[in-house]
């Protein structure tokens, strides 16, 4: 026998206007096990809460139903009230008679009947609830940051500055990411390297940060508080501590390949440093092209290396580490330019990508900051910038807007005008989107002060015409077709999730959206949380973003990670699955159904076990179990059945 107290809220007139509270109380008071009913103008107010507390004590209530608004509004409020009155908080349930009753119906008689049914069904449910205590799981007070771009750098620095140990894993030979390749940044035109490299150096020398470059996360097990992570440290073939960056090895290396840092516009050797400010500041051997690694054909670099820093016999190392929280900052890659066949990227030398143009603009780029055509090295006098190259084109390419391309194409045009004063910069756009602080002013500056030309319309094709490029398109404001000659075309393409983002989401079992970007736990209110508790996302791994937004998000993700790291134990909701070993037939059905891998078979005990730290409480297993041996606490088969019966009681 339970002793249920039912508390009905008027919510001012919000509920009382359409539900006859007096009738509700009169009907409910005669229900089985109901020992006390009471109403109040505002149950959530201090006096309303006091009414509940007093009644729990006075009538020795062991179950509470609050008939008021949605659980989302006040479930926590009333659970705390119950707890403060000395009753377990899981013995309180809310009946939603506002959002799902009084606000959506007009007929008072019918609404009152429906409210009674909803309350009746909630009474049946709460009678079957068990008292539960939150779980405490221990926390390893260390964070893992995956990806060493600006997002990862910022997140790692924030967590480390707060006093926690951080391991930063980067798959490339240096941190810095895409931002290190940029010449200048919009809308302030400050040099990207100048603002980024101090942060890179800070990561390199921070006592709380362990930097693992040339490394990849291989596997992640475990759960929030204790993720067990396998990290593969690939061989560098250069001993970091011994290398003095003297450059002797580079001069003797006979292998010449494209330099990734300069977007393939310049050559590099098989032994190289990505760029002079790389962190860690040490050389690396590219094992795919080096002639010294298995089989040893050439060892010229080793011969000239005075500090004996080169070791061809290095092997991959696997590191096993445990972390309390993970920040995913694996970034983006640009939409494959060659997919946009009509613009001729890959076939026409002088059609280049935004990133290639960025390198041409850069003082440490292949041309030392002079804009030159890849075909003949001449300075282009007319440059066409194509916005939305492969974006906002659901039929053939990306359906979405990548947010930053309008701004970076504007920046490119402006920088080009700064370098080539008599040059013509012409932008083809669909819409110019300048939503950001000082972005509109930046665009105005380009059009009004620096005479960058904007043409609303799409380029239909780019073809080689002698030395020049013939661009055909349409001006959609005047409906005129356009044909013009230019010396160079720059494609402003959109953003895709990087390969690393795709790989890490499958390793961490993160949900992704239809484009492959990591999905946030809530698009508005939980922008840095993911569906996996304890895993956070920052920067372009979750969608196209500019640098300020990326940095803000990285700090947000770092703050969220610190919440987990700030205590020795974590509280977890105890509304999870529970197995009755007596009836369980060990058929493994629940194991396959669980989306979190929270259920496992223990051979030693010959039992199926639920991991309370992994179970999120969906109850999918409970509906699948053929013998009814696995149940979701406080939402059991019987509890739902009883609720259905109460709803349908005539």
């Amino acid at each position: 026998m339970s002793k249920v107290g039912v508390f009905v809220c008027h919510c001012g007139r919000n509920i009382a206007h359409t539900v006859d509270i007096k009738k509700v109380l009169e009907t409910i008071k005669d229900y089985e096990d109901v020992v006390h009913v009471e109403d109040n103008m505002y149950m959530c107010s201090e006096p309303g809460q006091a009414v509940i507390k007093e009644a729990i004590k006075k009538h020795d209530l062991d179950r509470v139903v609050v008939a008021a608004c949605s659980k989302d509004m006040h479930e926590d409020t009333f659970r705390i009230v119950t707890k403060e009155a000395g009753l377990n908080q899981y013995l309180t349930e809310m009946a939603n008679i506002r959002e799902q009753c009084s606000w959506v119906h007009e007929d008072k008689k019918e609404s009152t009947e429906k409210a009674i049914k909803i309350i009746g069904s909630t009474i049946e449910r709460v009678k079957r609830n068990q008292a539960l205590e939150p779980y405490h799981i221990p926390v390893t007070r260390k964070a893992l940051v995956i990806g060493g771009g600006i997002a990862g750098i910022q997140a790692a620095l924030d967590i480390a500055d707060a006093g926690y140990q951080v391991t930063l894993v980067e798959k490339d030979s240096t941190i810095g990411g895409k931002m290190a390749q940029l010449a200048e940044t919009f809308p302030t035109l400050d040099c990207s390297q100048c603002i980024l490299t101090p942060k890179m150096v800070a990561v390199g020398r921070h006592p709380n940060i362990r930097l693992l470059t040339n490394s990849e996360v291989e596997n992640v097990d475990g759960y929030v508080g204790s993720f067990k992570v396998k990290i593969k440290k690939k061989p560098r073939y250069v001993i970091e501590e011994k290398c003095t960056i003297c450059d002797d090895c580079v001069h003797v290396c006979p292998v010449i390949v494209h330099d990734e840092y300069n977007a393939g516009l310049s050559p590099r050797k098989a032994i190289y440093i990505a760029f002079p400010q790389a962190v860690p500041a040490t050389y690396i051997i590219d094992p795919n092209t080096c002639l010294g690694i298995d089989p040893l054909i050439c060892a010229k670099c080793k011969e000239v290396c005075d500090p004996k820093a080169i070791d061809f016999d290095m092997h991959p190392e696997i590191l096993d580490e445990e972390f309390g929280a993970i920040v995913v900052a694996t970034g983006f890659s640009a939409y494959p330019y060659e997919e946009i066949g009509e613009y001729g990227y890959g076939n026409i030398h002088n059609v280049i990508s935004g990133l290639e143009f960025e390198r041409l603009l850069s003082a440490n780029g292949p041309t030392q900051g002079v804009i030159r055509r890849p075909s003949d090295g001449s300075i282009p006098k007319t440059v066409v910038f194509i916005h939305c190259a492969g974006s906002r084109d659901p039929a053939k390419h990306l359906p979405y807007c990548s947010k930053i391309c309008c701004m970076y194409a504007t920046k490119h045009a402006l920088q080009y005008k700064h370098l080539v004063h008599d040059g013509v910069a012409l932008n083809f756009y669909i819409d110019v989107r300048t939503a950001g602080k000082d972005y509109e002013e930046f665009y105005k500056r380009a059009t009004e002060e620096e005479s960058v030309i904007y043409v609303r319309g799409k380029v239909s094709e780019v073809i080689q015409d002698g030395e020049k490029l013939l661009i055909r398109g349409v001006n959609t404001l005047t409906s005129e077709s356009i044909e013009l000659h230019a010396d160079m075309v720059v494609l402003a393409t959109g953003l895709l999730p990087s390969k690393g983002t795709q790989e890490i989401s499958s390793i961490l079992k993160l949900s992704c959206d239809s484009k492959g970007f990591v999905k946030e736990a809530h698009p508005k209110l939980k922008p840095v949380e993911t569906a996996i508790s304890g895993v956070f996302v920052a920067g372009t791994a979750s969608g196209p973003k500019d640098i300020p937004e990326t940095v803000a998000q990285a700090s947000g993700a770092a703050a969220k990670a610190q919440i987990i790291l700030s205590s020795d134990f974590l509280e977890r909701d105890p509304v999870i699955a529970e197995i009755d070993d007596l009836t369980c037939g060990i058929c493994h059905t629940c194991i396959h159904v669980c989306p979190y891998g929270a259920i496992s078979y223990d051979e030693g005990q010959n039992k199926v076990l639920v991991n309370e730290a992994l179970c999120e409480g969906c109850g999918s297993c409970a509906a699948a179990c053929p013998s009814g041996s696995i149940e979701l606490r406080n939402s059991t088969y019987e509890s739902i059945s009883a609720s259905i019966k109460a709803l349908l009681k005539a």
Binding site: S70, K71, D72, N96, R98, E99, Q100, C101, W103, V104, H105, E106, D107, E110, S111, E113, K114, K117, I118, S121, K509, S511, D513, S514, A531, V575, V593, P595, Y596, E616, G617, C618, G619, S620, A622, A623, A624, L632, S635, Y637, I640, S641, S643, I644, K645, L647, L648, A650
Partner: protein
């Protein structure tokens, strides 16, 4: 040819048991409330964490207890708070709907639909639609004549 009795008595007040998930359709139902969209009182809600918590037997029980219709709602595909719960719901309930049809339950009595937290108007529209459909049928279950095709 046997004589069949024409069912003339239609159901003016059908009951619909509505299953809501806590994250999408439940919030969609709440949004219908905050937007003050009206729908019939015949819809009786039960909230579970995830639509995949609903056992197909619960649906059968609802019909046995006198429901004239059962409406199952959850998150859209790809949006499930529990990653893949709604896919499981869809698989289970699709099987059940075929079974119910085979035992003579009019398909209009059992619907599965996906409603996001922003689709308050879709929620009101679907619940209204379902009640209207059921009003064109005779009562079902223990209060009605049963046996229909």
């Amino acid at each position: 040819m046997s004589k069949t009795s024409q069912v003339t008595e239609l159901n003016s007040n059908p009951n619909v048991v509505l299953f809501l998930c806590r994250w999408c359709s439940g919030k969609g139902a709440d949004l219908a409330g905050t937007s003050r969209l009206h729908y019939p009182t015949n819809v009786l809600p039960i909230m579970v964490n995830c639509s995949s918590r609903i056992d197909p037997q619960h649906v059968v029980e609802a019909f046995l207890e006198g429901a004239d219709g059962v409406l199952i709602t959850g998150c859209h595909f790809g949006d499930c708070h529990y990653k893949t719960g709604n896919y499981k719901t869809f698989r289970r309930m699709s099987l059940l709907s075929r079974l119910l049809k085979q035992v003579g339950v009019n398909p209009k009595r059992f619907r599965i639909t996906w409603i996001s937290a922003t689709e308050g108007s879709k929620f009101a529209k679907i619940t209204t639609e379902m009640v209207e459909d059921l009003k064109k049928l005779p009562p079902y279950g223990k209060n009605g004549k049963g046996g229909e095709s």
